[in-house]
Amino acid sequence: MFNPKSKNNRLIFSAVVFIAALLIKFFSPINDYSGNWKKENGGRIKEVVAAVDSAIAERERVLVSISSQIEKKIKSDTLKNFLKFLEIISTVQNNKIEINIFSNGKLLAWNNKEIISSNELYSKLKTEGKGSCFFYETPLTVYFAKISVIDSIEMFTALPVEKKYILRNPFYQKVSLADSLTNEYGLSVKINYNTQLRVGTLPIKNSMGKIIGGVKFADSGGVAVKHDIINPYNIVISLLFLFALILFLQWINKIIVKDGYLIKIGFFIFTIILIRSFIAFTGQDDFSFFGNIVNPIYYSSRKLWGFTKSPLSLFFTILALFVISLKIFFTFRQYLNIKTFSRIAKSLLFGITLITFLLLYNWFSDILKSIIFDSSILYFKDATLFGGYETVFMYFNILLVGITAVIFGVLFVEILSITILQIQILGKRNLLFLLFSVILFFLLIDEFICRKSSYVLAGFFLIVTFGIYYFQNFIGTNNYLKIFSLLITGSILSVSFLNYFNTQLEVKSLKTIANELTRSNIDLYEYYVNNAIDKVSRKKQSVSELENVKNIDALAFMLWSNTLLSTEVRSSALRIIDVDKSLLGSFEYEFALPYSWQWEDSLVTKKQLKIIDDNKSAKLIASVIPVYSGKSITKYIEIDVLYDTHKIAINSNNKLINYYALFKGIPVNTNLLKIYEYTNDTLTNYFTNVFLTKQEKEKIKNYSKHINKEDWIELNIDNDKHVFFIQKNDEQIIAVGLGEKDFMWNLFDFFKVFFIHSIMIFLFFIIVALLNYNKWKYFKISFKSKILFALLIVSIIPLIFLALYLKDISNKKNRDAVNYKLGKRADGVEHYIARHINNTDNLYEVFENANKDLGVDYAIYENENLIYSSEGTYYKIGLLPLILNPDAYLAVKKYGISEVILKENIDNYFFNSLYHKSLIKNNEYIIKVSDLLNGFRLPMSGIELNVFLFGIYSLAIIIIIIISTLLANQISAPIEKLTKATRSVSSGDMDIQLQLESGSGEVKELIAGFNLMVRQLKKNRNELAKMERESAWREMAKQVAHEIKNPLTPMKLAVQHLIAAHQDKSEKYDSIFYKVTTTIINQIDTLKNIASEFSNIAKMPELKLQPINISTIIKETANLFIEEECIIKIENDKEQIIINSDKEQFQRMIVNLIRNSIQADAKNIIIKTFPNRRL
């Protein structure tokens, strides 16, 4: 059945794979899992429990290790004071651990914040005991903690295991043991951090065997099994079917598709499309296994019937087109002989190709526009170079699109040019120019009708494809350079279009911003409130166990942060109210209304919601829910939201808490936006630092009267042209605008993507080099390349160092500027307080006034305790510690430093804090000023500097590369000419002479010397040949004379003897006569032989006949004349034309033909071969 030589092997193999895949699909035990996941989950649960135990053990190990370290140091230290303890704690190398040291009920030392009160500590010591680990819950965080006792000192060490609050900003660091287990095992894991275990909860124990908490699992839909087992299984099955399909198609290709390149191409295209469709149909481009590259958020479009529904799906589609383009490109070059087509066929082909070229341009524009508009990736706004891996993947897709378009474009231009190059009336260059003009004309018409991009880009598209066609076909260069040029132009083309469409997106985003400003209404806010109250009610247990909670404000913040109020609502509050209606704690965000019980019922027994509209601009939406303990109501939770349309600006001081980014995901720089709101024809609100003149205000107002609902206008503001989008909603008008110059491209926009593409192209060549490592020994770096590399290294490396140095200097300057500004503010506050403190006894009034009058946000500490903060939110909710930074405390108290700057952080947001010692009314205080609360505008921030440097240096590098290439060409050109000339001389061309003008200085002397040498060589060769000929003739003549003399002597003697015999009338005359005549005849024969030999010597040398490829020989020979001022065109119908001939003689013949043509002043030399013609 299996014959190695059989053509049907592929069919058999395909059938085997197909049947195997079918059997696995329908008879696999995994099919049971879909409905029987509980059985699989049993084993999984054991794994999770083991993982929990392991995580607890690991944390316990860390706590034990650190607390032992500290204990040893404390025991060994004789001077047991708090400053020493602070120093000891500061040496701990773990920034996650919290350490508090107490003695006699007083906090002595801390490394970050006071996370447990002394009362709680002693209470825990009683219940948990010393040395035993347990879970310790605060309103914001759950810790894994331990209490150690050293003499009269209690040390509390804790590691965070669960953050209960959420900050929806890029700096937030999530800490959740439960979530990490959920993500790893696919089961929903919930951990109880107290010892009250519910039904179905498995206990968690510490190393002493004591139950400290519980873990519970849920997997309601078999998600885990689906994720870990069924999905990979489906991938494998699909791949098997795909493999079977490919084998089957290959078999058809070999057996059925035999002749005809058009049929081959057609079948190939059909195969690729079929495989691509199969991948889409089986969902292989959609498995969650592939992560973010199958997430439609990063890219998806319904164009192309579902073949572009994710970045991976787009990749497969573009790859299919790329493969098709390569196949057609090379097949066309090898097989298609347009010259043999009839005139009608050529015209038809011209028309079809032209239309296809226009369609290519349209497709290219559409796909790049889609990549910009149908993706959430902000390719240009995001200042980071690479972004996530899904972004890099999309960059690769963009490059592939560009390369595919260039290949198709070059192919179509080549077909078009061949169809018209038969016209003999015009020269080739003129014909190409005419062709370019014709295509450009139709392209511009297409752009006029279809409006795919712009006229400039349409022309650019044509110039690029034409340029590459010209470079590939008319400029002699090696294949690697041709490939490189193709890849680079693909990138340049796609990046240019991408920039253009990004500008369009920026314009469109003005409309999106206007929509966003009008998206929220009272109904939506009511939904948010309902949603929030329902979420909060699920966490009621946290509220009902309030008795031991110290910071109820923090609890309120925690509840608030877990609702949509933190991201969708501008002004909200969450309040926790006692059953007697007194406020226990609250968190307000931009919410100024004071608390008062506003519900009609004195006892609210279930959820209530109301909207209060007292004819002010803002409406209040409030909801309340009771918290039960058993059957009794113990607390209330109230949510209040203010719906106020007249607020656009957001207080940026709370940027970490509320990520209510009004314009999140918008591609424009929001600082440059100009937004104006009119209500009843009056400007009521604005978001900009540019104020409109009266005329400008009127212009917007008047224009909006003429529009229906929305429209675009252009307006001059501050002598700058602006584009505005205006939207009308009843009496409200919103105008959102941006300056035209702010839409324009900048260097960074272009070079960022181009730089990444360059890296990808570079990696491609490295891979190619690695795959061809066996050819490395033949690889020679030319003189030109060496010069180029040398120039690049000498220029670029110092440039890079300069850039790094500049960045370092700028960062240092920025740091110094920030520290200086912080210092000035601290001084300002100190002086203000000093001036006004004597007028009043109320310190806090002075502090408040300092904040209002100076506009500086600051905090004041007395000893280690916070006594005042102008912006108290972060302290109130526990994100910033109420206790002084221990390093600041040490600096001031121990080392007597009056001012110190420290780096602090909230999660991954780092900021600088300046601590300034101050004497106020003879008491020592510490003033703290930080850039968390005081925003500074630096001349150039870190990101702006990176963007600027990157753009400038990228341009500089490009310029250096271009100049270096030109210089390398110029320096190496004479040497290259010399090299080629030397090769010509070695192959026998002694007539070659180089132009003296192509060099200068030593090079000119070298060329002159070479020319002289060649002339001398030629002369010497000729003289030598002449001398050799003369010598040969002389020698030959001598030999011949000698040979001729030899027979002549006996002939003479014989005749003399005969004469003598005749004269003597000898009796032996007859025999003598016979002897003499025989002798003479023999000598005549000898003379005849000598003459024959002589004529043989004059024959030509023998030919060495062998099969040679004359196409190759002609090409190689023509290359010898590449520096000559003429164009040598070789027209071969085939790459290989094999004949039997003498290679040397044939080459010499071609050399002579070309040399003779050049000497006859020929400018165009065409060498044609006709393999089957009879001449």
Partner: protein
Amino acid sequence: MKMFSFKLFQIIIWLLLINSFPIFSQTDKEIVEKIFSKIELGMETGKIELFSPYLMETVYIGFQSKIADYFSKEQAYYVLQDYIVELNLQKVKTLKKRISGNSPFISGKLISVNVVDKLHYFISLKYENGSWKIFQIIID
């Protein structure tokens, strides 16, 4: 005959008059109601194509705090499909609906097989370029 012709003429005039007075609110209400029905059915069955033709060119989608952004119409189809199919909804329970005014909306609860807690949803429409379009979809 004459009488009949005259009456017929009157009826035709009345019909023309009735149709020429656009009963906007009534027609709009029906359209809005129809869109909402398709949304509810589409979410329950996971067939986004039932209501995807009504998406705005740029539509806001907020989903369980995982995403909250504007998406193009082309992109929104697959974004919604991914999330709604993942949810595997059993039931869509509309609790509040407004079919008149500038911003008609529906809101309610979603019961999912794959999510333990109930989800809330809010979907509103906006009138644009002569038709009602889905402006925002929020599920949390």
